[in-house]
Amino acid sequence: MSLKISNISKLFGKTIACDNVGLNINQGEFFFILGPSGCGKSTLLKIIAGLLQQDSGSIEYEGNLYNEIPAYERPFNMVFQNYSLFPHLSVFNNVAFGLKMNITSKEETKRKVEEVLAQFQISELSERKPEQLSGGQQQRVALARAIVNSPKILLLDEPLSALDEKLRVEMQQMLKELKAKLNTTFIYVTHNQEEALSMGDRIAIMNKGKIEQVSTPRDIYYTPSTRFIAEFMGEVNILSYKVYHTEGGISSTDILYDENEFQLSNPKTLIKKEIQIVRPENIDISKDPLIKADYVESKRGIVIQKLFKGNTTTYIVKCDDNRIIKATDFNTGFVELILTGNEVYIGWKSTAIKNVKA
């Protein structure tokens, strides 16, 4: 383990930003910290950088305790959310800032800066001031400014959130290419699931200051450990609610179908609560009756709404038993096979069902 974060807690007044956070991040890993805004992920990143002091807990890097090492002596560099380029310095001097602070010779600074500017295809901007740059260009400069110092760990704080969709995809590709060339650890904080899923080696899901799950993108998506993660990572159908409890030494399970009942249900001898979920894309939908044997459950229903999303369409189906199920199908051709109001058959296989802690 190269970066070891143990029991980090941080309070802002009465708000808990980080609640006993522990993480182990390997050298060279592309690691994501994913969570909704206000979950404490940026605070955690700043604590790693040394820009904020934790209230308790420790940070170790390569076996050395980093708690007392100030930000300017840590071999980590950060790409800030709004880039935070120095407005009074040219692009060249922004990128050269870190090298100058560490007293690098003039020739070497020049060589390194020019090399990085060329790598990020911004050589021709080197004399410009940040205010004369577009968002995408500023992003490149911010990245170059961090990378030029050859950090052991690159910390990225929602670096692409200010860019438009097309540019974001372009930058994602660039980051992935950059990552492949370096043995630098990338720790990337974002609220964008797609970014985390498409780029990350591993993802830590953070919610209300706590880490809820650390795993590979595939695991996070298909076997989320909590209801929060399941719903945060994409759309879900909740098939049933289960309340496990014991009565007089005998354990029993209540299976409920009503969300409200589930929220209220909290027997004295509660063991755990679970929900059963199926992702919409794991539900097969057809105008013809399905072969029952293939599915663990299949139903007939009426399409009450259609959401066309380009490559996929999500159908909201009201089943005969009055339950609402979302099913997503790939759009393969130009012909609309299923229309709103059509009678459809839906079904799912047992492997598609996941039990998740509520």
Partner: protein, 285 residues
């Protein structure tokens, strides 16, 4: 839409009207009068004799006057620099406090002396610096000196009084410009290997340059016209141009020469401002 805009413009002009009149009557006209007066001769009993002359301007190069003018510039410039040196740490300290209430309290304390009369403030310094003033009587009681030090009526006293009176003019623009700096830039600098000291010289100082320049001008320009402080604290020994101008208008009753002096100072200030704008034209910071 267009009609609305026309009405709006008319309304705007209507509201501007009183200000335009005020500026014209009480500012522009006197200014032109001063320019005109400076090219005429003085009357025998004061007033103006309307005979064209440039003598008023050549009189400025008289030993007596140009030395005072030169000293005034040095004193004013020194005052601006001293205010900067004293004001920057103060403005920086106030700006870096985290509590807004504490910041406001400190700012009000900085401005507090402003709320008392200018004369009283300067008189207080006479009480402090005089032969039987606070400093001398204390030093004598402590047996550190036998005779009072000559503090009052010296160039030192004038410089001190000016520094005291003009400090808020420096602190306010400095505070405003330091406050405006994005705090994330400090984090970025820190992250890139700069400790607090390096961050100050590489980020804070260059980014507060507009405040420094504004402060320097806000102190330098009114210092040039000062006559109360040198009068009260400097006595007869260290007059500034302001004193001479006052004397020309009120005592010597040589309005044309007084006007010429005013005109020269204004030209110098104008030149300095133009120079400042030329030099910093292309930089928005």
């Amino acid at each position: 839409m267009l009609k609305l805009k026309v009405t709006y413009n008319r309304l705007r002009n209507l509201f501007l009207f009183p200000t335009v009149i005020w500026i014209t009557v009480f500012f522009l006209v006197p200014l032109i009068l001063i320019l005109v007066f400076s090219f005429f001769e003085r009357g025998v009993y004061g007033g103006i004799e309307y005979n064209f002359t440039t003598n008023n301007f050549s009189l400025i190069f008289d030993d007596l006057y140009y030395k005072t003018i030169a000293r005034t510039f040095i004193v004013s410039l020194l005052n601006a620099v001293l205010c900067l040196l004293a004001g920057y740490p103060l403005a920086f300290y106030i700006s870096t406090r985290s509590s807004t209430r504490f910041k406001n309290a400190l700012l009000i304390l900085t401005l507090l002396p402003f709320w008392t009369n200018f004369l009283i403030r300067t008189f207080s310094w006479m009480m402090i610096l005089g032969n039987e003033g606070l400093i001398n009587s204390m030093l004598i009681k402590l047996h550190l000196i036998d005779h009072p030090l000559e503090l009052l009526f010296t160039p030192f006293a004038v410089q001190l009084g000016l520094l005291y009176n003009y400090l808020p003019f420096m602190v306010l623009p400095l505070f405003a410009s330091i406050e405006k700096i994005d705090k994330n830039l400090y984090l970025a600098s820190n992250d890139l290997g700069a400790n607090g000291f390096k961050t100050f010289f590489n980020v804070t100082l260059p980014l507060s340059r507009s405040g420094i320049l504004t402060g320097l001008f806000l102190v330098f320009i009114p210092s040039l016209g000062e006559f109360v402080t040198p009068d009260l604290l400097g006595g007869a020994k260290s007059p500034m141009i302001g004193n001479i101008i006052k004397d020309q208008f009120l005592t010597a009753r040589n309005w044309p020469f007084g006007s010429a002096l005013v005109f020269i100072i204004m030209m110098v200030i104008l030149f300095a401002l133009i120079l400042k704008n030329k030099v910093f034209k292309h930089q928005s910071i």
